[in-house]
Symmetry: C2
Subunit: 256 residues, 2 copies
């Protein structure tokens, strides 16, 4: 049996990392990594006639519920990377999409898996995936979609760091939703600069639970978990709106 | 006599506007417009050997003090624009740089003039421009640099709208300074969404006075000025850090 999604169409494009997509160390930010991955998937969708308009005509919109992001090396300033994406597989309710970011020599810099659902525009509830919305990707119809790792359940402690973030007008993208890559800027900004400057991000597990909206003030929280290994650190994050959990995230880091 | 800077080298490059560089109406944001203009000037500088390292080896950094931005039409989502830039002229203390953003047919979408100074890395004071830092641009040495319009002096009124913004880790770019295009996201976000959705930005005058730094919480303030003309609206903006003025901005808008 072939690997899941082996027959799905792969779309690729190049992208050069600009200075405004990188942090002060010259590494691409996590939000940039997700932004360019999604750019690739939107371009594939447009290319196959699965435009946002077409999807909306079917009364739904695609919503991501989970990411699992593996980073071998963050792309750096001025590097030209290749984004590859495929809509690998789907079952009645969940679609599984994979992304690869590679350097000029074809080495993998990042590999991202993700789970998507279609949400009704009228009821805002998850609805069955209409096969016409995935067939052009040559997505594999399957019973079982891979389960992505669940982030650590966040627990407030006396050392939890938290910061408020008000959702801004420019956090909303042309799809009329808060660009959820911006969550990563909030999540990581809660960490001390000293931490961000001395650690490389290696792995991220994200689970989105509730949408945030323009004007909301959310609270981003982080725990830097104790570790036995001197080279590896895990951070546990949550974004909440009042008592409502918006997303939970676990990140693994390597000390530089 | 030729127009000022007519002999200066012009550098051009193309840029496609991605979804994460556009607002919910599909127009490029003002911060994107400045980001891509500066991208063009950095690429020209690198191309001519005037890299950030080279400039720093001379003990200084370039700092923008004013922009005057004329917008015929904001670029839109997925549009490929051409950025053109030249270091037009300089006198002992000020450099004058121009930018053009054009559509695929060569029509002008935006024209930006700007004034730059070199600041000592040790004293943080403005120093005389070292001619080796501008000669490769074929910049015209002149006595008189054009004066850019001064923004309206901001005055707090009972209807002033203000919002606090905390400077984030990811607001700092690889040049180790707060990317001052981010000021525009703060400045415009203070306006009601209803205003932003019903007005096209036509002209912006910006004057930077004091640098903001990571961790600072600045206050962005705006007055929507009364007008006799139904189609034109002027807004007056300020960013301050406590009592210290960081920048002042005037924007002219057309109702859609």
């Amino acid at each position: 049996m072939a690997a899941l999604g082996a027959q799905a169409k792969v779309f690729t494009e190049e992208h050069r990392l600009t200075y405004y997509e990188c942090d002060r160390t010259g590494r691409a930010t996590l939000s940039t990594l997700i932004n360019i991955a999604i750019l690739g998937s939107q371009d594939q969708s447009d290319d196959l006639g699965l435009t946002t308009d077409f999807v909306q005509q079917h009364g739904v919109g695609w919503v991501v519920t989970q990411y699992s992001i593996n980073v071998t090396r963050m792309p750096h300033l001025d590097e030209v990377v290749t984004i590859a994406v495929r809509g690998s597989a789907y079952n009645p309710y969940f679609a599984f999409r994979e992304f690869w970011i590679r350097d000029g020599a074809g080495n993998e810099l990042a590999y991202i898996t993700s789970i998507w659902v279609t949400m009704s525009q009228t009821t805002r509830r998850i609805v069955k995936i209409d096969p016409v919305l995935v067939a052009p990707y040559a997505s594999e119809a399957t019973k079982r979609i891979p389960r992505l790792p669940r982030p650590i359940s966040f627990e407030t402690t006396p050392t939890t760091i938290s910061k408020p973030y008000q959702v801004r007008f420019f956090d909303i993208d042309p799809n009329r939703h808060v660009n959820n890559a911006h969550y990563f800027d909030w999540l990581l900004d809660t960490l001390p600069a000293e931490f961000l400057l001395t650690h490389d991000l290696k792995h991220v597990d994200v689970r989105y639970e509730n949408e945030v909206k323009y004007g909301h003030t959310v609270i981003a929280e982080v725990n830097i978990l104790p570790t036995d290994e001197s080279q590896l650190v895990t951070t546990s994050h949550r974004i909440r709106l009042g008592d409502e959990k918006c997303c939970e995230v676990t990140i693994q880091w390597e000390t530089i």
